[in-house]
């Protein structure tokens, strides 16, 4: 099982961002890193000039590096950002099909978890176009994961292993709305919540979390207890989604789990203090709903 570190979903302070990738470059347990802006094009200018150095550090640390597309491309500058991705000379992780439209014919690319790969026909179409790696949508049940991994043949297939789940993307910015600001005058208020802002029900049930235009799960996905099954289904890697604190402890625990030094029970006990939102879910893989943890819906 390889570990891929997904793009940072939140808006992080630039110094924190740089320190994170410098440390990630030195982290032996990580094989692959997807870097770049996934959620909001307005955030990119705050760290864009630091990207080359971070990429260089990661490559020097022996990591495979891919650069993500935006999750939703609408504006002119977003289309240009997306069109420019292949020119970086790195593997492009397509998270909006707009990026596919801009890849030169025959170029290899990766398919991220925000692309709707629900069936073999879609997977085969993308493979014919040059897809060389898939991270499947988190929503998929085990039966679909198994069939897709089989259809992928030698192409590696990853699933979401850790972190708040990317459940929805919108044209509307919920952080700006919450702070009574128009989206165009958001003053980058999402930076106050680098791992998302909790949304609870009127009865204080942990429900969701907002991250600008993105909606995340309140619970932190943790596939530790499904690891052996995922291996058996043909999954070749786990994607861990970065968080602003405790992330390197989580990486270490995953390495211990994968290498058999600890079991899933011990993993979850030791990882829980680091889980954004303070609770786990793993229900998409075998139900009854995504929020379920080990088949139980939280009370």
């Amino acid at each position: 099982m390889d570990l891929t570190i997904g793009p940072i979903q939140g808006f992080w302070d630039a110094d924190l961002w740089s320190a994170f990738y410098a440390r990630l470059a030195e982290e032996p347990a990580v094989k692959r890193v997807v870097i770049g802006e996934l959620v909001c094009s307005k955030r990119l200018p705050f760290y864009q000039d630091r990207l080359p150095e971070a990429i260089e550090q990661l490559l020097a640390g022996g990591k495979e590096v891919a650069v993500t597309s935006l999750a939703l491309v609408t504006l002119k500058r977003e289309r240009k950002m997306t069109a420019d991705l292949p020119g970086l000379g790195l593997d492009v992780e397509v998270n909006d099909l707009t990026a596919l439209a801009h890849l030169p014919d025959g170029a290899q690319f990766s398919v991220g978890p925000l692309i709707n790969v629900y069936n073999e026909g879609t997977l085969r179409f993308l493979a014919r176009r040059g897809a060389a790696r898939f991270c499947l949508p988190p929503e998929l049940p085990a039966a679909s994961v198994e069939r897709l991994a089989k259809a992928a043949g030698t192409i590696p297939v990853d699933v979401w292993g850790w972190g708040r789940l990317p459940l929805a993307i919108s044209g509307r910015c919920y952080h700006a709305r919450y702070h009574d600001r128009p989206k165009d005058q958001c003053q980058f208020v999402c930076a106050e919540d680098p791992d998302g802002l909790a949304v609870d029900t009127l009865e204080d049930q942990k429900f969701l979390a907002i991250n600008g235009v993105q909606t995340l799960s309140a619970q932190c996905a943790n596939m530790a207890h499904a690891l052996d099954r995922l291996r058996h289904l043909g999954v070749s890697g786990l994607r861990l989604s970065p968080q602003s604190t405790g992330f390197f402890e989580v990486i270490g625990l995953f390495r211990d789990l994968i290498d058999g030094r600890i079991d899933a029970e011990a993993f979850s006990e030791q990882a829980l203090p680091h889980a954004p939102g303070g609770s786990f879910c793993d229900g998409f893989i075998d139900g009854p709903s995504g929020v379920a943890w080990r088949n139980q819906i939280p009370a």
Binding site: K76, T98, R172, L208, G283, G290
Partner: protein, 326 residues
């Protein structure tokens, strides 16, 4: 004249929509191949053929929505739906899944393909990709775009564009949302349902009615008030010290006042949401919109207040068409 694309959840609604002046009706088969997979709704194969014949005899078109994402291992069900729509004489199929579109383009080269809103093609590059790769003829634009952005897209694409103007409003980019399966295990993409009634409970507690979805409280309202349906992105929630409609109010879409602007933006077809609505509702909305597009075509003002009373007893919004919504 702008084309009116009207919903039909049943054969009776299809006939009502055609009789009320729909240029085009869209509908789906009674299974999880379409995004309104509700109990008691949609068409059997013979009903589809009869409905299409009824519409064609009156000069109206029928589009068949096959716009969920096929389940791995079960693609044949979706392939069969496309083949059966073609056999029944559908004027086009509305598809969202990349693999299914590729299949339809290859297996049914004569069949007109429309790109569903569920495909979330939100810019000219992606739309042109679908047109060049698969010969898609029309795109239903995602509800994240302003009228200005729609106009800009239309200047850069050669295919027709269709936009939603009335009915239910998705707040999230459609086809890119798994909130419903996170809470209930059933989603628009996989099952053709959002916030399904099977997971809804209403409970009287003290003087309030709690509406819950999958055990999660979406609204609490005073017993004297009308309780909105607990669609999960339109609930009242707590964030920090504040309580409110974090994502969207329980509002529905009404862009009727924007019809002239949408026409100017190059939109060719106007879509009304509501395959789950009654035949009487469909007939009234269709009649009113038909009057509106005819007035527009004749250069006359829009009939005022034409849709009052039809917005589900809720507030209405023009959604992302007005940029400030975002």
């Amino acid at each position: 004249m702008m084309e009116l694309v009207c919903p039909a959840g049943t054969p009776a609604s299809l006939r009502a929509a055609v009789d009320a002046g729909a240029h085009t009706v869209y509908c789906g088969f009674a299974d999880d191949t379409n995004a309104r997979n509700f109990p008691g709704l949609n068409f059997s194969r013979p009903e589809m053929a009869e409905g299409i014949a009824y519409a064609h005899a009156r000069g109206a078109r029928v589009l068949v929505a096959i716009n969920t994402f096929p389940r791995a291992g079960d693609e044949a069900t979706w392939h069969r739906a496309v083949a059966d729509a073609s056999t029944a004489g559908a004027d086009a199929v509305i598809l969202a899944d990349l693999g299914l579109i590729a299949h339809a383009a290859e297996a049914h080269p004569g069949l007109r393909l429309h790109l569903s809103v569920q495909a979330a093609a939100a810019n000219a590059d992606m739309i042109n990709f679908y047109a060049a790769t698969f010969g898609v003829k029309r795109v239903v634009l995602p509800r994240v775009l302003s009228v200005q952005e729609i106009a800009a897209i239309n200047r850069e694409i050669d295919v027709e564009s269709e936009v939603f103007v009335f009915g239910g409003l998705c707040v999230m980019t459609e086809g890119r949302c798994s909130l419903s399966s996170y809470i209930t295990g059933r989603s628009p993409n996989m099952n053709g349902v959002c916030s399904p009634a099977s997971h809804v409970t209403y409970t009287e507690e003290d003087d309030e009615l709690a509406a819950r979805l999958g055990g999660y409280t979406i609204h609490r309202s005073a017993k004297s008030e009308a309780a909105p349906y607990p669609t999960l992105c339109k609930g009242c929630f707590k964030v920090g010290p504040r309580t409110g409609y974090v994502f969207e109010d329980p509002a529905s879409l009404d862009a009727s006042e924007l019809l002239p602007a949408l026409a100017k933006a190059g939109v060719c077809a106007l879509k009304i949401e509501g395959r789950q609505r009654s035949r009487a509702y469909v007939a009234q909305v269709v009649r009113n919109f038909r009057n509106a597009v005819e007035a527009l075509e004749a250069g006359q003002p829009m009939p005022a207040g034409m849709l009052a009373g039809l917005t589900e007893g809720q507030s209405a919004t023009a959604g992302a068409y007005n940029k400030i919504w975002r």
